[in-house]
Symmetry: C2
Subunit: 355 residues, 2 copies
């Protein structure tokens, strides 16, 4: 069975880490006899925008819909195209049109990586953030009134649907069932955001009834961010709305010292549309073009993609290869952001060899 | 000149730390010859709600409006009254009706307090979070449709006005001018929240033109929370919307290890209405009634109140007294949350004596 993968490198360091992501994927494919067919697309980048006046061609949906997965680098280059145009014109389109309603991000303290939190060791921090990925605070409903005057008012609607909330909760509860601690934490703000967030809480309480084996707690987002720093060991599966999930899935990796290497999956669990796999980091214009970006986020995202396609062992092997190379701590291999003197290529090659 | 202070202890540990807040205030008043007249109110607590069916009497506004300041403990007790009712019925009313459009919170690593961040010492972290405190994501506009059915949809409107945004920015820029580093960081999310947040950015850029002496930068809220953990030394004055400010002003104190002792001010800068001073911590039902709550947040809030009333030296003396008692590190005096064996009273008394 051939798995067709659409490759979109995007902008900045996206184009530099992607070759290493592919190298690792191909190594895993070879070792585990997985048949991958990669097709590269130029669209979904700011350079494409500058040439065509849009981030994606009109028929992008038809071009991509029959792929088994999308492997994405990073998008955005504010000096070329404002972020809200480049992002809404590409990544956020994929998430919505392909109904990738789950954004899944592991937060795991890896060997050889120093956590910014005092006294935390590998094993201490190991949880998932499950983020609603299509609705909520990221809405396109709203507008401006009294434009350009003193009385100017700007409105934006947060939209939560029962369908949208329930399906992400269900995914998160199911994930919690596969974990040893069987614990789910809900991110809320029902004490301040008085309509949507009490609704979120209601749905969590309702869903919890169907999962008596899962220990459920909830925190308001303000104190929850504090607890990520103070008690990262409390968490197992954390579920949040689009915005809260976005925040927690940057903060979580930051607490594990892995903001530059964390992976993410944008999943359509039913498989009706392709899912998308991308590193958490952005396009990093400041270091782009130097060949020094850390490719681990891209490689780890590739592992999540193989897992999604059903190749658990291959995925585990890729993650293990990352851990081994990190544990080894060879200065000539590691990139600068994690204390080495190597570059994108040296680290990518070392991991691919290990696989 | 007599300064009339309305005292509302609220719920849980609010009622325990308030006497220590008052003790310290009275010590400072005595030493610096400040004429304070305190009046205690029972309303604004969940017990009041249980008796009266509302958090505040109908004429609360008239009862309180001519005070020079409100000194608040903590409100909320979810087992008695749901948070969105107790909070919207009290604290959030004060903030709105008294147009306390600034929420100001210092994030300062204090001597003797261990930061959860590795290798950070007092002096390394010292910034302010300035939060818009009346509009934005905390709106009461919205509702539910198709209630109780599969198609259920819940809407809540974020509302930003030019008046609302500009005045908080102005306050933050002015504050930055008083600081040695003259730096302002704006919290945004204009890459994802595509209407209100680009507007926020626009207003920041506009306001910045009037403050050429201030170095301005901005981060999306997701990476900003990460940077609080990774680079807390980058920040001087951080300004955010109601929700973003709320998150950052819990996360900031968490990074300084002071979530239980941080103060906050809800300010109406024009002095048209009384401002309100309260600790960042909540009513903490879990430890209420034991006399072990840390009173520093309440005392430090009292210092912010004196500063607001024009007594800078008295305020500085109160903060210095807190720092001295913390530096001294007497186990018999400090509360358990900061590693001692003392209680609310011992710590409160020690600080008052020092003042
Ligand atoms: C209790 C809650 C409504 C409140 C808020 O979100 O404003 C609190 O978190 C705060 O920061 O003062
Ligand atoms: C780039 C931005 C729109 C995006 C988001 O907020 O979803 C990013 O932060 C992410 O988490 O993938």
């Amino acid at each position: 069975m051939v798995h067709r993968i659409a490759v979109i490198a995007g902008d900045g360091i996206g184009t530099e880490v992607m070759p290493e992501g592919i190298r690792a994927l191909e190594a895993a494919a070879k070792r585990f006899n997985i048949d991958l067919a990669l097709t590269t697309f130029e669209f979904g980048s700011c350079d494409y925008y500058l040439e065509h006046g849009k981030m994606l061609p009109d028929d992008w949906f038809d071009q991509l819909k029959s792929f088994d997965a999308l492997f994405y680098g990073a998008v955005g280059w504010p000096d070329k195209v404002p972020d809200h145009i480049s992002l809404w014109g590409s990544l956020l389109q994929f998430r919505r049109q392909f109904d990738q309603y789950i954004n899944l991000r592991p937060c795991k303290l890896m060997p050889g990586i120093k956590s910014p939190l005092a006294g935390r060791e590998p094993g201490d921090i190991d949880f998932y953030v499950v983020r609603e990925n299509t609705e909520g605070e990221y809405s396109s409903v709203g507008g401006k009134m009294f434009e350009g005057t003193e009385r100017e008012v700007v409105l934006q609607e947060t939209v939560m649907s029962r369908i949208g909330v329930d399906r992400v909760l269900k995914y998160a509860f199911n994930l919690a069932q596969t974990r040893p601690r069987k614990k789910l934490t809900s991110a809320t703000k029902s004490n301040g955001i008085s309509i949507t967030m009490p609704y979120w809480d209601e749905r969590v309480a309702e869903m919890a009834k169907q999962y008596p084996d899962i220990a459920v707690d909830k925190f308001h987002i303000d104190i929850l961010t504090a607890n990520f720093v103070l008690h990262p060991d409390w968490f197992d599966v954390v579920v949040g709305s689009n915005l809260f999930g976005d925040i927690l899935s940057d903060l979580g990796p930051a607490c594990t010292g892995t903001i530059g290497i964390a992976p993410s999956a944008n999943i359509n669990p039913e498989g009706k549309f392709p899912s998308l796999f991308e590193p958490v980091h952005g396009s990093a214009p400041d270091i782009a073009g130097k060949g020094i970006a850390n490719p681990i986020g891209q490689i780890w995202s590739g592992a999540m993609m193989l897992e999604h396609l059903g190749y658990q062992e291959a995925a585990d092997t890729m993650v293990k290869a990352i851990e081994d190379v990190l544990s080894e701590g060879n200065n000539q291999v590691l990139t600068r952001d994690i204390g080495g003197q190597g570059n994108t290529l040296s680290l990518g090659q070392a991991i691919a060899e290990r696989i």
